[in-house]
Amino acid sequence: MNLNATLIGELIAFAVFVLFCMKFVWPPLINAIEARQKKIADGLAASDRAEKDLALAQDKAKDQLKEAKAQAAEIIEQAKKREAKMIDEAVHKANAERENILAIGRAELEAERNRLREELRKQVAALAVAGAEKILQRSIDEAAHSDILEKLVQEL
């Protein structure tokens, strides 16, 4: 233990080293470390946020997909209903048309038949008149005998 002037020298050196360290060494290093720590913390927070956003977006997409599926199903359902309705309508319409056509046909047939019958009756009447004329060998006064002829025609 021989304390001497070295002590003073070392004390000065110590003070100078500490001051230098305090001014020029410590601040840049600790600032760099803290800035990087902040950067990393921010990055981690951002990645957390992104993860949450992703989960949210996935949920949203799933919901939308579900909705779209439901909508599609509804549209298909509606289309089927409409199809059925249209077919039904078409069948109805067709049936009505058929009925209509049939009715017209029948009416025409009826008319034709009536006309033919009328014609036939007239011809038969004429034939009957002609026959009767032949039989009677004389002409019948059509005007005078028209009532009889009419009656005959009616009976035919």
């Binding site: 304390l3 070295t6 070392e10 050196a13 110590f14 305090m22 060494v25 290093l29 600790i30 600032n31």
Partner: protein
């Protein structure tokens, strides 16, 4: 070692444990044995040179890392330096709760500087002294046995005492800055024995003052002597091992391996205690 001179173990050890001295005798510079009468104004040039050299090495290494410090991806060198800085910063943050721009760089300086000085202990004990002796003998025509070279500055009590005194000055400075002069005096006189009655308290003041002063002064003493004692003893054992011939090799290896622990631990302890003492000095609740 000079030829013809009897080399005893004790003189060998003595030679290893003597600092290179410098002083002024009658107005001119004198060295070593001529300085035996110089008293206080003797300079241990080896201690000064090695410690200041290592301090500058510390500052140069850390300054070059600080200049290149990036907040992006750090290189390996920066990573290593930042590891040390962060270790110190964490310890300071955990122990010292006030706000101070000084404590952390102080702790870093103490830790790295003391570590580097302790590290000199791992250089085989004869290398540098023998080299210095050879330089002294061939370059300056000195007797190589008169060339002293103690390369571990922490085995010089002047250095450890200087560190401890520096810390002690800071302790008192912090005490006064945080608590005021009156608060500091109160701390020295009104604890640990306190009484509500004023006359009794006045009687207790001397006892308190003695106890608290001893407690205060014991701190720098323990700081200085712990580091000095550990390193001096370690150095002594290295010298003894170095003196026993070839058998030293395994022994030296074992002791050096163990000493790696000691040098880091002592540097860490010095740093930690500095932080603790300064934290105690700046905390108000006694």
């Amino acid at each position: 070692m000079a030829a013809g001179e009897e080399l005893t173990l004790s003189s060998h050890i003595q030679h290893h444990l003597t600092n290179a001295k410098m002083c002024t005798v009658d107005g001119s510079v004198a060295f070593n044995k001529a300085c035996s009468e110089a008293g206080f104004w003797t300079w241990h040039v080896d201690t000064l040179a090695w410690s200041i050299g290592l301090g500058l090495l510390f500052l140069w290494i850390f300054r070059s890392a600080a200049k290149k410090a990036t907040t992006g991806v750090p290189g390996k060198f920066q990573c290593f330096i930042e590891m040390v800085v962060e270790m110190v910063a964490t310890n300071v943050k955990d122990t010292y709760h006030g706000k101070s721009k000084l404590i952390a760089p102080l702790a870093l300086t103490i830790f790295v500087w003391v570590f580097l000085m302790n590290l000199m202990d791992l250089i085989p004990v004869d290398f540098l002294p023998a080299f210095a002796g050879w330089v002294g003998a061939t370059g300056f025509g000195m007797d190589s046995h008169d060339v002293y070279m103690k390369i571990v500055p922490t085995t010089d009590v002047n250095l450890t005492a200087a560190l401890a005194i520096g810390v002690f000055i800071l302790m008192i400075g912090y005490s006064i800055r945080i608590k005021g002069v009156l608060g500091f005096i109160k701390e020295l006189t009104l604890h640990p024995f306190s009484s509500k009655s004023v006359p009794l308290q006045i009687i207790l003041i001397p006892a308190n003052l003695i106890l608290e002063t001893i407690a205060l002064v014991a701190k720098p003493f323990s700081l200085a002597l712990r580091l000095f004692g550990n390193l001096y003893a370690g150095e002594m054992i290295f010298i003894l091992i170095g003196a026993i011939g070839l058998a030293q090799l395994p022994l030296h290896f074992i002791w050096a391996a163990f000493h790696i622990l000691v040098i880091v631990l002592q540097a860490f302890v010095f740093m930690m205690l500095t932080i603790v003492y300064l934290s105690m000095a700046s905390s108000d609740n006694h």
